[in-house]
């Protein structure tokens, strides 16, 4: 592994922000730290950047122990949610700042700045000041500033959260493109599951200061390990063990051993097959038309289920329908949410 954080613990007063967390990034990999606000993901990023000191654990880059290295000697690049460009410097000066303090000759700086401005498609911006640019443009400059020094690791702290939807989408694909092109190992913090699914090679899903699940986007979506992950990433129908046993016992075939309360069944809305049937077991409660698909809520003996249908039949409220759930599409997930609540 290229970068590792091992057994990291960080406390703020009596509050444990990170509890014995271990993560790793392979070289060239794009890793997302995903979780709700307050889960500790930003704290972990700041510890890796060197902007905060860890209480326990170690951070290593290949063989080098970085745990006590000051941020400015780690050779990383960082982009914040708030752009944080130097307001008194031009765009060119902002991008070239890291090279300047490394005593790079002025001509080389100018060449590198021009190259980067070309790369982020803002070649005209060199002599402007940050205040003259839009949010999306400023964030691209911040990205260029971070990669100008060819950082060993690129850290992105919610880089897209301050932007509006359209700009966010554009910049998202630009970040993805740049990262693959340059191959810089990247760690991005986000609370937006869609962003994480779209960008990451590997997602580290966090909750309450611990890592809940690590895996590829497909892994986390198709095989969530816990109720929290199933709920946080995508939409899920979560069914209690007792209810499933009563209504559709075949779902229990894939269920791991354990008390009834230990696991719940997770069924994604697109995996439920719906068909009109006046003798069916369920009733349509509401239909929301979303263009390429319909989201149908049905009252079923299993409970209130959300179903997504693509094309084909259209349904009306109050209509009686039948549905089937292929048992291989049912994932049993550990019920960490009720555990935490109890």
């Amino acid at each position: 592994m290229y970068l590792t954080a091992r057994n990291v613990t960080k406390k703020f007063g009596g509050f444990t922000a990170l509890d014995n967390v271990s993560i790793s990034i392979a070289s060239g990999e794009f890793v997302c730290l995903l979780g709700p606000s307050g889960c500790g993901k930003t704290t972990l990023l700041r510890l890796i950047a060197g902007l905060a000191e860890l209480d326990e654990g170690a951070i290593r880059l290949e063989e080098e122990d970085l745990s006590r290295t000051p941020a400015r000697k780690r050779g990383f690049g960082i982009v914040f949610q708030s752009y944080s460009l130097f307001p008194n410097m031009t765009i060119a000066e902002n991008i070239g700042y890291g090279l300047k303090i490394r005593n790079t000759p002025a001509a080389d700086i100018a060449a590198r700045v021009a190259e980067l401005l070309e790369l982020i498609k803002l070649p005209q911006a060199a002599d402007k000041f940050p205040g003259q640019l839009s949010g999306g443009q400023q964030q691209r400059i911040a990205l260029a500033r971070a990669i100008a020094v060819e950082p060993r690791v690129l850290l992105l702290d919610e880089p897209l959260s301050a932007l509006d939807a359209k700009v966010r989408g554009e910049l998202r694909s630009e970040i993805s493109h740049l990262q693959r092109q340059l191959g810089i190992p990247t760690l991005m913090v986000t609370h937006d599951q869609e962003e994480a699914l779209a960008l990451a090679d590997k997602i580290i899903c966090m909750n309450q200061g611990t890592v809940v699940q690590t895996g590829s986007p497909e892994d986390l979506y198709n095989r969530p390990a816990t109720r929290f992950v199933a709920d946080f990433i995508g939409t899920s129908n979560l069914i209690e063990t007792a209810r499933a046993r009563e209504v559709q016992p075949d779902l229990l075939e894939t269920r791991p051993e354990g008390a009834d309360a230990a696991y719940v069944a997770c069924i994604r809305p697109e995996h439920i097959i719906l068909r009109p049937d006046t003798n069916g077991r369920a009733t349509v409660r509401s239909v929301i038309f979303l263009g390429n698909m319909c989201r149908v809520e049905v009252d079923d003996p299993l409970g209130l289920l959300t179903v997504e249908t693509h094309g084909g039949e259209s349904y009306r409220e109050g209509e009686t329908v039948d549905l089937s759930i292929p048992r291989e599409m049912c994932t049993w997930v550990a019920d960490d949410v009720s555990e935490a609540a109890s």
Partner: protein, 563 residues
């Protein structure tokens, strides 16, 4: 039936629209009339008087007489030298303290924050009084160290002025440092910049406008201050004392007007440049801005803490010695404590203190109402009217208190207009105090209005509320903290100001700061100290009252102002 109802409703709406328009014009009109009557008109009179000779003929003779007098040029030279040297030292100290407060890590910052505002709680001449008790001929230092320092003149005046202007310098420079948030420094840190490089490349450029702005403000405060110069200036005459000498000493109002106009020129120029500089100070902020929290670095923080505490000790010592001296039985011979100086022997006794409180409440109440109405009205009028009005409302800050006071006596002591009725009333002193500090009050209120989301008004309006109702139910509660600040700002300034009111007091109607000056003039220095102590206690109580009310408001959080 239904149709008729609809028509009634529509005509009702039309009537209210007209009502709103009338209300808007009252809101804008009354404060504007006030500005014209009590600011523009007196300033015109001062100008006219400066080109009128004693027989009432128009002439430039006054100017040539002043420009040919050695005394005027000496006072001008002194004012400029004093202004520049005070500016350099005050801004340098202000930068150190602001940097210490915002960019260094040490304990006891609340002490520094507390000490630094003390000079604002007393008339400027109290600094001078304190310096005399400390360093004067009978001061503690000369007495106990057996020295013969002479504090009267340039050095004493410069120290007094420096400390008096310091709070403003610290606040302005501090505000410019706050604009750079923690993330910017962290970005530089991760990029590889050392602390020194961060200071050179981020902090210094960011505070450039703050420093420039502070320099102009300090310069204006210094050359327009009268109290310090009158008490500790000695033979070192400056323009402000020169005006006083012309008007009070020689009863030559027109010559006073000429010197006033001459003092106005550098202040207006400095003020204009300062406003232009302010416009360039811009910040771009996105979500997630974090205040900078410095970590402790002994090599930087210990010397900075030492400097900050040293300056604040000087401020506290100078004001503290005034309080101490007020209790000393017979300075400098018998240091046993007594209350005998609190028995003011000058005619009137404490009456001027009570009158000053009444005047200050009047100025604060009327003033807060006036700027609130103006701000309210200006949201609803066209930019081509609002623009010039804004310039007019921001103008009084460029006029030295001495000049405004002189303008008032020239205007209101003349029987030519019915305005004469105001002459010699407490109301006129309240008015001059308000217009003297109009700019700051107005700008603070406008800041409050700018934070008010337009959606609140639109929502209330679409629910059918008229302008008056919206103002009372929606706007006033929202900007209440700002209005409270404005009220106490005008109150506290009115309590301690001297320069604007010194010409307007009469033997029957005196204010606190003038009484202190008279006591000091009469050689009753210990009584002046006692009176100053009482005055500072009142202003301190007002300050604490304001902090308490604002803290109460913040705790209640009637509106979420985070957005």
């Amino acid at each position: 039936m239904i149709a008729r109802n609809a028509i009634t409703a529509r005509s009702g709406a039309a009537r209210r629209l007209d009502g709103d328009r009338v209300l808007t014009w009252i809101c804008v009109g009354l404060p504007t009339l006030g500005l014209i009557l009590f600011f523009v008109y007196p300033m015109l009179i001062v100008f006219v008087k400066s080109i009128t000779d004693l027989d009432g003929a128009y002439t430039l003779g006054n100017y040539s007489e002043v420009l040919n007098s050695a005394g005027f040029w000496r006072a001008t030279r002194h004012s400029m030298v004093m202004g520049l040297s005070t500016t350099v030292i005050s801004v340098a100290l202000g930068f150190i303290i602001a940097h210490g407060l915002h960019r260094c890590s040490f304990r006891g910052k609340w002490l520094i924050r507390g000490a630094i505002v003390l000079p604002l709680l007393a008339p400027s001449l109290v600094q001078a009084l304190g310096l005399i008790f400390l360093l004067g001929r009978n001061g503690l230092v000369n007495r106990f160290l057996g020295l013969e320092l002479d504090i009267y003149g340039f050095w004493g005046l410069m120290i007094a002025n420096t400390l008096y202007a310091l709070p403003q310098a610290v606040m302005i420079i501090g505000a410019s440092l706050v604009l750079l948030d923690a993330r910017v420094y962290e970005a530089a840190e991760v990029t590889g910049a050392t602390p020194l490089q961060q200071f050179r490349d981020l902090t210094l450029p960011a505070s450039r406008f703050g420093v420039l702005n502070a320099a102009f403000v300090v310069f204006i405060i210094t050359i327009t201050d009268f109290g310090n110069a009158a008490v500790i200036g000695g033979d070192y005459s400056v323009l402000a004392t020169e005006i006083y000498a012309q008007v009070i000493g020689q009863r030559n109002f027109n010559m006073g007007a000429v010197v006033g106009i001459m003092l106005l020129l550098p202040t207006v120029a400095a003020y204009y440049i300062e406003r232009q500089a302010m416009k360039r100070q811009q910040s771009t902020k996105a979500g997630d801005t974090q205040p900078f929290v410095p970590s402790f670095r002994p090599l930087r923080d210990l010397p900075m803490a030492g400097l900050c505490f040293a300056v604040c000790t000087a401020i506290v010592a100078i004001l503290g010695v005034v309080i101490f001296a007020s209790f000393v039985h017979l300075w400098p011979y018998n240091y046993s404590l007594s209350l005998r100086h609190y028995d003011i022997t000058l005619a009137g006794g404490y009456s001027s203190l009570w009158i000053t409180i009444v005047i200050s409440v009047m100025a604060a109440t009327g003033g807060t109402l006036a700027v609130f109405l103006l701000g309210l009205g200006m949201r609803r009028i066209a930019d081509r009217v609002a623009g010039p009005l804004q310039v007019l409302a921001a103008m009084p800050a460029a006029v030295p208190g001495m000049v405004l006071g002189l303008a008032y006596i020239l205007t209101f002591n003349s029987t030519a207009t019915p305005l004469y009725l105001l002459y010699g009333t407490a109301a006129l002193i309240a008015i001059v105090n308000f217009y003297h500090y109009h700019t700051q009050a107005f700008l603070t209120t406008m800041t409050g209005f700018r934070q008010l989301p337009g959606a609140y008004e639109e929502a209330a309006s679409s629910l059918g509320a008229g302008m008056g109702r919206i103002a009372i139910n929606v706007i006033a509660p929202f900007i209440a903290p700002m209005l409270i600040s404005v009220f106490f700002f005008i109150f506290m300034r009115s309590m301690v100001t001297l320069s604007a009111v010194v010409f307007l007091t009469t033997p029957q109607l005196n204010v606190a700061a003038v009484t202190i000056m008279r006591l000091d003039d009469a050689g009753l220095t210990s009584q002046a100290a006692a009176f100053s102590t009482c005055l500072m206690a009142v202003v301190m109580a007002a300050l604490l009252g304001m902090k308490g009310i604002l803290a109460y408001y913040r705790r209640r959080k009637p509106f979420d102002t985070a957005g």
